[in-house]
Symmetry: C2
Subunit: 359 residues, 2 copies
């Protein structure tokens, strides 16, 4: 099939000027061929190696003595993001949720493939901004575009990214390998994105805290929903120290439950241990019931990991050196019960919906 990918040995220069000219003349373009669209928008993202997205497949020379880590996430408008989100933010989120998986596995990004199903009302402005955002993050996280496929869809914008990373053999950090006594850490702050989503949906929610939150806090939470921060800086600290890790995408409660269940473990988590942003603390002060979306909402894209006690000091030092805040929230213990979140009085928090399900 016609997908477009980085080719290592093509001599002719990309014909992007012609494609761009047609773009500018037509303004709104379903007449543009896929080849022209690729030349104009995506070939420039293929990186410094001067490669051109003009073959049927990408050729990846994997680093010697490394294993490959592969992850794939699909994002659908109106399910994972809002159709009217800024196109650059949509692109960046689509890449970053994949990079977040690589980070959690202790893997170094090598590149990614982009599948893009565009609705018929796309415009050159939209696609230009999308490609620009994508290119900026590809450069920022040193994860070049290797290839992909562009199709039209009668449905919502759909983005499918496959990211490829590398690890030292045997060093991929698994989800299911926590051990009893391990300290459970999370990076950054938890719950911001779930609160940001509530703010974004605010008009239909009719919740007092939304009106009471100050502008800066609201903007912070909205931004946290819009744009995850993949914790790639932590990958070496994880690979060296963690028994197990995953990223928190479906809510801390549900994801921790998944990680511990695979290892036959459980945990008690004092909610007070969960690292909160100033904005999330303020929202919780205004509306204590928000503890549920904080603990069980989705889209944090922070890393959850299990580190043996003996390595916790080294892990914390490495995280600090990497500039990533980490917080120990609990200790893993043998047991089949789902992890329990407790309030300050030691009462179990009951969540109506313990895990966010995009699906």
């Amino acid at each position: 099939m016609r997908c477009w990918t980085a080719s290592p040995a093509v001599t002719a220069p990309p014909n992007s000027s012609r494609a761009l000219k047609r773009l500018n003349e037509a303004g709104h373009l379903t007449q543009l061929t896929e080849d022209e669209l690729i030349a104009a928008y995506f070939a420039p993202l293929a990186g410094d190696a001067g490669l051109r997205l003009s073959d049927d497949a990408a050729l990846l020379r994997a680093p010697l003595g490394r294993e490959l880590v592969l992850t794939k996430d699909m994002l659908v408008a109106r399910v994972h993001f809002f159709s009217n989100d800024p196109p650059a933010a949509i692109a960046r989120k689509a890449l970053r949720v994949n990079l977040s998986d690589l980070a959690a596995k202790g893997a170094e990004p090598l590149g990614f493939l982009l599948g893009l199903a565009l609705p018929e009302d796309w415009t050159t402005d939209w696609l230009g901004a999308f490609a620009k955002g994508l290119g900026e993050d590809a450069a920022r996280f040193q994860c070049p575009l290797l290839g992909g496929d562009t199709v039209k869809t009668p449905g919502p914008l759909t983005i499918s990214i496959t990211a490829i990373g590398a690890v030292v053999p045997g060093k991929m950090v698994l989800r299911g390998a926590a051990e009893p006594g391990d300290l459970i850490y999370v990076t950054g702050t938890i719950g911001d994105a779930a609160l940001g989503l509530k703010l974004r949906l605010g008009a239909t929610c009719d919740q007092d805290w939304i009106g009471a939150l100050n502008e800066a806090d609201a903007a912070f939470l909205l931004e946290r929903f819009l744009l995850p921060q993949p914790r790639l800086a932590l990958k070496d600290a994880l690979a060296s120290n963690a028994h197990a890790a995953m990223d928190v995408s479906d809510g801390l409660a549900g994801d921790l439950s998944k990680m511990l269940r695979l290892a036959g473990l459980t945990a008690k988590i004092p909610a007070a241990n969960i690292p909160l942003s100033r904005a999330a603390r303020e929202a919780l002060r205004l509306e204590p019931k928000l503890i549920e979306p904080v603990c069980a909402g989705g889209d944090d894209y922070e890393i959850l990991c299990a580190v043996p006690l003996a390595k916790s000091a080294a892990f914390e030092a490495a995280a600090q050196a990497a500039g990533v805040m980490v917080s120990a929230i609990a200790s893993a213990a043998p047991g089949d019960a789902p992890p329990v979140f407790e309030d300050r009085e030691g009462r179990k928090l009951i969540f109506a919906r313990p895990s966010f399900q995009h699906f």
Copy 2:
């Protein structure tokens, strides 16, 4: 983000019986969690290695001394297939169009990742048949499922597959490396799928040839549209002998034009040289104008390649040994003009739409 992938070191058995039970009770299931859906339908496809799709990323130990070939194709219902196609055929086509790319590059399949955006009206019967078809082809072509992501969509069924293959370093067959004097070959027969699509759309087409075609020929053409045959058996013959190759997905005329343009070449193709099935010959006898969809329609998924004269005998022998029919249709010559297709009297065939554009 939560994608699901093969994990190399998980001890607990997949909980597929529980998930299946819930499936059977509920019949139509949006309540099923993604984890249960994966355990029930996709974990069994992860292959003999006993891997379970329960980590955030797949771990691929690439064969020593090999380069990786990566390809990604997205298929959207009502664009690339019909929503009411048999689910097993949809799954198999989605995998096979990617395998067709690997075959054209001379690559051996290593595995694939599946992105599946399911509309809300999916049923357990549908998904079961989809997974069964996918699993059968994964086994047939020795290309196991490594991981993926399952999401819901308010739009049409969308499938995004990334396939990974391996080649001896330097041996990926490029699209743009044909040389003057090369013989241009195609595999199998050309145009069947484009005619099959016309048959499938028949009710709205009102074309006499459709009614006149016998049942067996019609069934053959419909099947050729529904289910491509990836020419993986030819991969070694290509890697050893071809200067350039690509698969024919957007029509022979357009794809040949792309391949030759990259190399600064052109060609004259007597239409009589194009290998046709009995059914396509019969359709052309009934309606000579069908020469355009035969030459310029899409979905052939045959391989187009350029082989130096000195290697043509070896290539043909290797193809015969592999059981793949190959036909030399032209010779490549220096020049910038698009390739020209000629009728029996040497007149240039003019196509209204020289290349099929899914996009």
